[in-house]
Amino acid sequence: MNPIAIGVFIVIALLTLGSGIMVVTVRNIIHSALWLIASFIGVAALYLLMEAEFLAVVQILVYAGAVSILVLFAIMLTRQVTGEGVRVVFERWWVALLIALGLFGVIVPTLWQHGSTWEEASKLAQVGPAPVEGTAAAGLQVATATEIGRSFMGEYLLPFEVISILLLMALIGAIVIAYEERTRRRRVLTLAEELALKKRGIVEPRDAEGAVVALDSEQA
């Protein structure tokens, strides 16, 4: 029962929950994205507290580093043309609140009933392997990155390969969906290219103020 751990846990819990609440309640979408990053870092701190170092670093690298940038880019690219005036939440947002609170009300009591059984189980689990005579009493060997790596290559090889294919599909899918074909618009010709065309007699159709008139196929 060391007070520091409890204190730190409570601080991190408040940080994560607080930024979570801010994510859903703040009006400005950019601010809610920044609060999302704060909650990611809170969760990473929680992992560190639970000595899952590798996971904490992966969380910072993947979520706080990349996903948040993706979200920010998406927000900036789809800047609301009509401005923030529009309502942030649906009219009947309180229904969602009710559902969420109801769910919370259901989960927490069941958790607390099983609390005691989990306590003994976790105490049992904390006892390290039986001390071999020669060596000192080896403490509890918490799984680190090396064990994770071995289990990836050993026990969980199939899911590992499936995940890599899934990521590849997501990669290609995202590009195909988001790619805006540039073919439909005229590329700006440099001086030398225009001269090369003129020499071959291909004169670009230009309207009054000299802008290149797009070919009729692009009028759509």
Partner: protein, 370 residues
């Protein structure tokens, strides 16, 4: 249909890389440049009206302020214009002195111009500061002989203000020993560097026909492949006595102009060597004594004299009505005309290239706005 709308960006007039007070209104579509509208006139000082009010001699110091990098060349061009108008002949030694000063000015101009362009490319002013050192040495020479580093006011009608003495010759020879090392360092520093090649090759291409159509002159024209140099086309002031070559590019892009300017510096070095050997002794006089400088009256008529300034063909057109000051005084400034080709030359390239292309044309706003 959502079309990324074109962005209007304003580069200048207080922009770190516009070589003086010059604004470019650039419309950009994504990264490529669609249209560029140059806006200048911020440095207009009413130079040509002043020329009509001042007497011929009084106007000489104002010509220093045109292309403030090469005041010697400006003075020389103005002096030649008045000499042709008034029919004054210039002694041999003065012509040699003028040629020496012009070639020294060409070297310092190209050294700093290339330095500024590389600075715009992001090369953090190393080449510029080496160039500045050579420029400092040359400016000390100008200061010794004319009295001021940049505003030399050195030429008079029929000669120069002060003769060059043996101290000047010895120091000039010492300077000449250092220059080849500087040229080699400069070429070795960047000429084959991959990133410069990537940033300079095939950027801002000005084909030969269009270069002539835009009537650009100087290194920009020679970079596009037209071998036209006034020192060869219409040899003035003893230039016909020197053996030197005219460097010419092939494609006409930023890289070619860069190479042409470096080659021109080497050619100026050759001219300087020959000029020092053939320099006549002081008996011939450094100025035509018969000319009354401050009260020179030119017969009615007109004259146009042009000089190969480092930036291009610098010409002075004078119409005189017989009085002591010019009736019409017009300066054909090379930077002004070279700048007119910038707008079309930059189309299709990115913003980063616009700044480099502007650097490669090497303009000075003093000359453009007059």
């Amino acid at each position: 249909m959502l079309k990324t709308e074109e962005l209007q960006i304003n580069i200048g007039p207080q922009h770190p890389s516009t070589h003086g007070v010059f604004r470019m209104l650039v419309t950009v579509d994504g990264e490529t440049l669609v249209d560029l509208k140059p806006v200048f006139g911020y440095l207009h000082r009413n130079h040509e009206q002043l020329g009509e009010v001042n007497t011929y001699l009084q106007n000489m110091p104002f010509t220093d302020r045109l292309d403030y990098f090469n005041s010697m060349v400006n003075n020389h061009a103005y002096a030649r214009a008045v000499e042709t108008l008034a029919g004054v002949e210039v002694p041999e030694r003065a012509q040699y002195i003028r040629v020496i000063m012009d070639e020294l000015s060409r070297i310092l101009n190209h050294a700093t111009a290339m330095g500024f362009m590389l600075g715009d490319m992001g090369a953090w002013q190393t080449a510029l500061l080496w160039g500045m050192r050579e420029r400092e040495k040359i400016l000390d020479m100008f200061e010794y002989v004319s009295g001021a580093r940049m505003m030399c006011n050195y030429c008079r009608f029929g000669g120069v203000v002060r003769d060059i003495d043996d101290w000047f010759i010895t120091e000039l020879k010492k300077l000449m020993q250092g220059l080849p090392h500087y040229f080699d360092d400069f070429e070795g520093l960047l000429l084959n560097s991959e990133i410069l090649l990537a940033r300079a090759r095939n950027i801002g291409v000005l084909p030969k026909e269009l270069a002539l159509a835009y009537s650009v002159t100087g290194p920009v024209l020679r970079g596009s492949g037209v071998a036209y140099d006034i020192r060869k086309a219409e040899p003035y002031a003893v230039y016909d006595r020197f053996k030197f070559k005219v460097p010419v590019g092939t494609v006409g892009d930023v890289y070619d102009r860069f190479l042409v300017r470096i080659a021109e510096m080497r050619e100026s070095y050759k001219i300087l060597e020959q000029a020092i050997e053939q320099l006549p002794d002081a008996t011939g006089g450094f100025i035509n004594p018969k000319v009354k400088q401050q009260s020179l009256k030119a017969p009615a008529g007109e004259a146009y004299a042009r000089v190969e300034s480092p930036k291009g063909e610098l010409g002075f057109y004078l119409v005189s009505d017989g009085s002591g000051s010019a009736y019409r005084y017009k300066v054909r400034a090379p930077s002004f005309i070279n700048l007119s080709s910038l707008a079309d030359m930059c189309k299709g390239y990115s913003i980063a290239d616009v700044v480099v292309i502007l650097g490669s044309i090497d303009i000075v706003m003093g000359e453009v706005d007059r």
